[in-house]
């Protein structure tokens, strides 16, 4: 546990920020990102604390900090410095102190409407301009005012500031929902969570022009950091759950299936039921659930099958490990079986001893401190493990896909010849150049994939859009794969840049759940065909090793490339495209679009 993991101590972070930073910087594996922080009020300490939370997520920021309350001017009339900085992210720190046209009781209803339009238009103009820099934009909505002229009626009266703020926030939400590459940092919710009287400090405003209390800066910065790490594909993907006293009250092996606390009959049962409902909802976001419990499997499953009050059913879990093996072994096995990194797992267990063993044996697994069932939801929710920025149709279907994968694994074991197995899957696919319709999913795939990823180069959506528009200098390809068990969606994409008669593979990623299904061959066949169309004679490629992409270290050799450079940090390859090229994929029926 880091001092920056939820639940953190704000005062400690603020006081010790220098030594915390020093310690974080001892880690040497960071991805570097440029972040412009623009000011609607004082931002000095916000930047410093944001840096800590980002470092804690493995992101090393290079900041450009705007001048005090100059966000509007710096965006609208950039002197070239913002453009030159080429930010990956722009965070605009505005608050209700930046609303210029607040309603007053003397206003007519028409005048209030005008003010609302004016404020929204200004907000929108700023956002559009920020997006034009090609960065991911993060903006705040507006927190509630600290006093109300009308009392409760402030939320109802046309001239009420609460009413005005609510309306403005809805307009902002609708606008952001309609755009890509821009995310809301919901300070209206956050300030509510903390309490307005705590969130805002008149002293800090008058003295230092901080639009929030200085000691609440860690909460704000944490919120922004969560959005950034999510946009960079650093979310957790799966939860591993203990059963006894975690998903229900009591010990099923001792108390019997009727003896465990679940259902809304008594308070303890209610807390576990609500937790299960929460987890069930998480699966709707594509988060995968697994069980890891010291139990007899048959008895453990009765907790779901024989207690109808349990919101979860056995089918909601991808892996169900109820046995007497040490938990860290089971958890490592789960990561292998569903083919995700251990660092994508969150482990929930009421037993502190089990948590400690897992933390020690599997240091990359996230193990929140949870003390009692009424805290479980909070521990997951506030920590933002699954903070959503983009959400695609494939995400919604992910659980289904992984379950189908389990069926495929079962089918595979029935075949002795791998080729026969592949043929039995009755695979069809779709392949074509990047298109606007698939842009969001493609960007997400590029930024999330770590294993089948030769260069681990990340692309912002705007960069993907450039590639879509430029068919002369780039060959791009995405592919979908469907088999008899279901639709895997878009699972691979490739970008090659063409220079003269050479095409260089800048990026090639594939979701690991379809690796070795020969979709990689189909993609390569497509690349070769495109090269031939464009008169390209040679293909070059590189492999940049990371901790996660070892599985593809010999891939290019396997499909006929020659190694031209083999160093610790990079392998380079070349392939002369033969006159007569025979397609490598013989098992998937591909449709070219």
């Amino acid at each position: 546990m880091s001092v920056l993991d939820y639940p953190f101590d704000n005062a400690y972070i603020l006081e010790k920020k220098k030594s915390i930073k020093r310690e974080l910087l001892q880690n040497d594996k960071f991805i570097e990102k440029k972040i412009a922080v623009l000011s609607g009020s004082t931002i000095g300490e916000i930047k410093n604390i944001l840096e800590l939370f980002l470092l804690n997520y493995g992101i090393k920021p290079e900041f450009k900090v705007g001048g005090y309350n100059r966000y509007f001017e710096e965006l609208m009339f950039d002197d070239g410095s913002l453009k030159d900085f080429a930010p990956d992210f722009i965070y605009i720190h505005t608050s209700n102190k930046n609303i210029e046209n607040l309603p007053v009781p003397q206003d007519s209803e028409e005048a209030v409407k005008d003010k609302l339009t004016k404020e929204f238009e200004k907000f929108k103009t700023v956002c559009e301009k920020a997006l034009s820099f090609g960065a991911v934009v993060i903006v705040n909505n507006f927190e509630m005012p600290f006093y109300r002229m009308y009392g409760s009626k402030d939320a109802v009266a046309a001239q009420g500031v609460v009413n005005f703020t609510n309306k403005l926030n809805v307009m902002i939400a609708d606008y952001i929902a309609s755009k890509e590459n821009i995310y809301l940092n919901d300070i209206n919710y956050l300030s509510g969570l903390i309490g307005l009287d705590n969130w805002f400090s008149l002293e800090n405003w008058y003295l230092y022009k901080y639009a929030l209390a200085v000691d609440k800066i860690p909460d704000l910065a944490f919120g922004i950091a969560k959005i950034i790490k999510s946009a960079l594909g650093k979310n957790k993907k799966s939860v591993v759950l203990d059963l006894d006293n975690t998903l229900w009250g009591g010990v099923i092996g001792d108390d019997g299936v009727e003896g465990i606390a679940i259902g809304n009959e008594q308070p303890a049962g209610m807390s576990y039921t609500e937790f299960q409902s929460y987890l069930k909802r998480l699966t709707g976001l594509g988060i995968m659930l697994n069980v890891c419990s010291k139990n007899e499997e048959k008895i453990a499953k009765q907790g779901f099958t024989d207690r109808k009050e349990a919101p979860l059913s056995v089918d909601d879990f991808i892996c169900f490990k109820a046995n007497w093996e040490p938990k860290h072994l089971n958890i490592a096995a789960i990561a292998k079986e569903i083919n995700i990194g251990e660092d994508s797992l969150v482990f929930i267990d009421d037993n502190p001893a089990e948590r400690e063993i897992v933390r020690k044996s599997l240091p990359t697994v996230t193990v929140p401190e949870v003390s009692c069932p009424e805290d479980y939801i909070k521990a997951i929710d506030r920590a933002g493990y699954f903070e959503i920025t983009s959400f695609t149709k494939d995400d919604a279907k992910r659980n289904e896909m992984y379950k189908q994968n389990a069926q495929r694994a079962a089918a595979e074991s029935a075949f002795t010849d791998y080729n026969d197995y592949l043929l039995s899957l009755e695979m069809t696919g779709e392949i074509g150049p990047f298109s606007t319709a698939h842009c969001e999913r493609i960007t997400q795939l590029i930024n999330k994939t770590n294993q089948f990823n030769f260069t681990t180069r990340r692309y912002a959506q705007s960069e993907v859009e450039e590639i879509i528009a430029d068919r002369t200098n780039y060959i791009s390809a995405y592919a979908k794969l469907i088999d008899k068990f279901g639709d895997n969606g878009i699972t691979t994409c490739l970008i090659a840049s063409v220079e003269g008669t050479n095409a260089n593979i800048d990026l090639w990623v594939m979701s690991c759940r379809v690796f070795k299904r020969h979709l990689e061959y189909a993609v390569f066949d497509y690349l070769v065909a495109k090269c031939k169309e464009m008169g390209v004679k040679t293909i070059t490629a590189s492999y940049l090793p990371t901790a996660k992409n070892v599985i593809i270290k010999d891939f290019y050799e396997g499909i006929g490339f020659d190694v031209t450079l083999d160093s610790e940090s990079e392998k380079r390859y070349i392939l002369n495209i033969p006159e007569e090229y025979e397609n490598k994929n013989k098992v998937i029926k591909m449709e070219i679009v």
């Binding site: 603020l14 006081e15 920020k17 220098k18 030594s19 300490e45 200085v214």
Partner: protein, 80 residues
């Protein structure tokens, strides 16, 4: 709490905020004596002092704190 106690706690805060265990405070220590002590860190110091002593500064309190001695006096007055 004696003036010495307040000094000891302030020293701890200063050492944390500036990440420097060598800092020694006297009544006459000012921002000129500590390299990183700028307006941003001044805010940090005040917030940390409020938390540590569980006190709340008023606007008028913090406008003219010319040295550490003045800070100690202010804390002594508020916890009295």
């Amino acid at each position: 709490m004696t003036r010495e106690d307040i000094f000891a706690r302030l020293t701890d805060i200063f050492r944390n905020v500036f990440d420097d265990d060598e800092i020694v405070l006297t009544d006459s220590t000012t921002a000129d004596d500590i390299e990183d002590w700028d307006s941003l860190e001044q805010i940090n110091l005040l917030v940390a002092i409020e938390k540590r002593f569980n006190i709340k500064f008023q606007l008028a309190d913090v406008s003219h704190l010319e040295n550490v001695g003045a800070m100690v006096d202010l804390v002594a007055r508020l916890i009295a």
